[in-house]
Amino acid sequence: MSSAARPLVEARNLVKHFPLRGSGRLAVRSVDGVTLTIGRAEVLGLVGESGCGKSTLARLLINQIRPDRGEVIMDGRDLLAMRQGELRRFRRTVQLIFQNPLAALDPRMRLIDSLMAPLAAHDTGTREECLEMIHAMLGEVGIDPGLVERYPGQCSGGQLQRIVIARALLLRPQFVVCDEPTSSLDASIRAQILNLLNDLRRRFDLSLLMISHDLRALRHICDRVAVMYLGRIVEMAPVEEIFQSPRHPYTRALNAASLLDEIGLDAAGRLVQGEPPSPVHPPPGCHFHPRCPLADETCRRQVPALERIAENHEVSCHHWRTSTS
């Protein structure tokens, strides 16, 4: 298989449970058997509610935490088999952008030092060369170079997020995970950052994993979207299909929630009942069945497989055929 055809990131059957301290065998089933791929220069959206395991999945993909089971193949190499030194070199190629940029920067370090740190860690040339690289990157993200003499507390959220993006991109990664990069930002700033990411992604040929709970934010930037519910992927399809013809009832509920103005409260409220159950005690069968308007006995007992129902469209629902109506 040529490396060009092969996806950049392949995750197979990833499982990660966090044992609850002091409660015997109970565990938070954060990621419960996830398989997905991300192609080169592809943007995959990952959507789900809080606690569904999105962030854990992201951190598994960049090997920031290790899975209980399953494997992650990056650029053809098994991430989990890497040794310390190899892993550190690998770090360059994979980066993470955080939800809250203020927390992602050491409050006691000037921004320039925070930007310098990764370059220094990877021995990227002299200080002057590094400064030059930084200034070039600041230009890319639209930050005035004078700003980096400040401390994080003295800048606005939008500016800091640009800095964090610049810091991530300085190492020229191939794959960047954006963990809700805009959810802590205001609407007017959010659009700026999304535009910036979209722009950079094209210019740097990046593969992105965009995590969000807001489908609307993903529509603009993603190629494909994966919908996650309680540790499992329930639907994965090209972005327009998710919006136009969602098959999983949960996807439709998410859709409705982000388009309240178009769908109306009553209709949105009918698509889903109750609240997400605890990932410690997920319901049997289809995790979504207690909240699903279509649920029947099968759903209660049987875990639906992730079926390929069209080119690039997978869904895990017993009733995907009926749910189109």
């Binding site: 301290r21 002091g22 409660s23 015997g24």
Partner: protein
Amino acid sequence: MERFLLKRAIVLVVTLTLVSFLAFLVPWLGDTDPARAIIRSRVADLALDSAAVEALRIRLGLDQPLLHQFFAWLGRVFQGDLGLSFTSRLPVADQILRAIGVSATLALSALLLALAIALPVGTLAAVHQGRRFDGIVTFIAQGFVSIPEYWLAPVLVLLFAVELGWLPSAGWSGFETLILPAAVLCLRPLAYFSQVMRASMIDVLHANYILAARSRGLGLAGALVRHGLRNGIQPVLTVFALWLAGLLGGSVVVEVIFAIPGMGRLIYSAVINNDMPMLQGSIICIVGLAIIINTAADVLYGVLNPTVTVSGDAR
């Protein structure tokens, strides 16, 4: 809950066994000869008869191998027999039990007094955070922490017993004898409690549920009483337990100065007299009590704070 208590019980037993081994080694680590020490306590003749010393050594089993002695000793300890004091040849356990009762009374009086003052003062300081009252309270608290009790106690005796004649100068026989020592002893915990209470009440004051309660029509005082105190007092209780465990043996200076027959004084005199069985017993009792009190505090914490489930692992 049962799991938690069971786990703590295991911790207690394991710790006590370890500690008792250390305690058992105490006389061997020091250079005290138990047989000599016992005889000296009975016969004030300075020239000891070495034959008598040897005979006593054999009678006490001190000629046996160390480990053999340890297990024999441990067996007795677990039956509650801590041996006889070198100096008085009376059972150590009885003396410790009596002393702990006294120390507990003293410590509880001082700590409850401190608590009674610290709760309102800390709360008021929190309400007035950053203003003059708060500054004064904090300064006084730091002052209290900086007063050595071995200085304050004699000064108070000089003032209240010798000059004014209001209170007894020393002793342990009733409420009046408790006042001065408790007052001296309460200053430092008072300072700590009020500072912890202040910090915790500042958090409470900024807590959203207070805002919510006020939005329902409760006044500030009402909201603090109904929703603030219960939450604000929890960190104070942790500190309270620490102090209680600490003061059971730690009020040495005050007990010595006021001639109070408590644990601190018992340990002090044991040290002075090289009374090894008394020291061994004291170590074991103090460690055991510290664990029990901390466990009790954790349980109480769980009762007060429903978000903490007291389970096998309490943090």
